[in-house]
Symmetry: D2
Subunit: 174 residues, 4 copies
DNA sequence: TTTT
DNA sequence: TTTT
């Protein structure tokens, strides 16, 4: 028996990217930052930011692509999974992803958005609709745009390590 | 936004009890013990056991009823949920249940059984089959008995604090 | 071996209450609400709020008493622990508390406060200072008031179940 | 605010390695395997094993070095942390470690060992002693060998990806 | 009521 | 490299 569980709350460094597998299933990639701060021995404030590559499949991927944006704060639950890839320099490397099985959108800059997906609290029947401001509630599976739809998600094939995002610091809105 | 998540590993105090809702959905109840030990200020070994009421619905309930037994060690993930009930003395009390959305069977005394259910690691598609000794693997949804089937689960109306559904006793379809 | 772990994010229903044990150790009690929402079979939005009694000891208790207020959003990590008590009607009941071992203050209405206590990320050495708005950072153990100190915490002996808080719905700021 | 929390249960692939920082603090490295299994679309049993690099500091490092061995089953709680290192080929790579803040020894093949360390359930006061078979209980901080002491931990400089401290080899104080 |  |  084993357990491989990760719980993250962080903010997206960029808009999520949604692609589709040959069989039509959606895959969504983005990365989120978590940061820890502490006082060192000299009483100096220290901060360290960690970037986590998130991967979602199917319904969760589509919801993320539809509702998450750069800067969004999100709760992610999933597992750690390594992945080999060929770098631009032709050298094999290993990337680590968090494969998500649950997501909750937290209050982003645009307001008190909150939603839950995944296994839900009530077994399969429970699917909490995304809420953004005064949006009407829509079922989580719905593809209809909410009253004030977000911009279309970017759909592209991301470079191998889904998000090294180390060059965007001055763009990050938090 | 809020989070209400519980992770438990413990042993069943009794066999699980499975009942059926009027709509045919299964409900499973059992309790598991967790214990913590520590040394007090006098270096004396101290132990404290906590009992947790677990409630499962639908597929998870059926799997639990089929494979768990008194003494089984189990990993449970779920949420805390309170429930009012009328005690035998006619006085209202509040019970706390863990409503499970995931379960992993750990090695019990009877062997290295291990299985996972719930959201799974691979989105909905992932359903780990129960394994007991050299059992063949069966899909998690399967109702067929494994090669060496466990005794039939007890099906009864438990006393109040263990019973989340108190209005369906005479609806049980068998 | 067993595991008894609870992760909560919710809002305080009232100001925390801090008391002191005969040995001088602080104890802090408050309750936080978590809520889940879902669409029922008729597409109607449903919501359910759960109240969790939180108990903290020692340093964590003092920090909570100093920085948390009614409405504060907080991340709590701890374990479930039952407790017998004598109700006002003289009848014994069982209450369930979450005994916290870690806390992070999330953004409350008053701004982007964020802090972490408990085991920290860096073993015992890691103690993240409370930040409120533009407060200077102070060590977590510090008892000094921050630049803009919150009102003194209420110190009293709470009634037995630390917070049934079922009568304050229209006061809750979220 | 952010959250970066990992919960793992797995088995050590090798004995843990303990080294000491120039300041005398212990660092322990090992890796544990988690595996997930599922049935693919053809009903074929699939398995995937993931290896996690674990890093511990100070007291936790010493306890791990003393009690864990190849094959030991362990519960680890910590956070994900990336780390740059120079590979043997001179190329920079990124490794991911789980920096542990809590550990529980689960039953290994050699018997029902069980112990808990870290923040404990009772704030700092709670330190569960390691138990191995009929060992007497000793405080977690104790350096004394238990009645039937395990073999001395290996102390060496591991290859890059498993080594978080790569500049202290000649500083080890023994 | 379990388990170590 | 572990374990089931």
């Amino acid at each position: 028996m084993s357990l491989n569980k990760v719980l993250l709350i962080g903010n997206l460094g960029r808009d999520p990217e949604v692609r589709y597998m040959p069989n039509g299933e959606a895959v969504c990639n983005f990365s989120i930052a978590t940061s820890e701060t502490w006082n060192d021995r000299n009483g100096q404030r220290q901060e360290r930011t960690e970037w986590h590559n998130i991967t979602m499949y199917r319904r969760l991927a589509e919801i993320a692509g539809q509702y998450l944006r750069k800067g969004s704060q999100v709760y992610i639950e999933g597992r750690i999974q390594s992945r080999k890839y060929q770098g631009k320099d032709g050298i094999e490397r290993t990337a680590y992803d968090i494969v998500a099985n649950e997501m909750k959108m937290l209050g982003s800059r645009s307001g008190g958005s909150s939603a839950e997906y995944g296994d839900g609290g009530q077994a399969g029947a429970y699917q909490q609709a995304p809420q953004q401001g005064a949006y009407q509630q829509a079922p989580a599976y719905s593809q209809e745009a909410p009253a004030a739809p977000p911009a279309a998600p970017r759909r592209q094939a991301p470079a191998a390590p889904a998000a090294p995002v180390d060059d965007i610091d001055d763009d990050i809105p938090f």
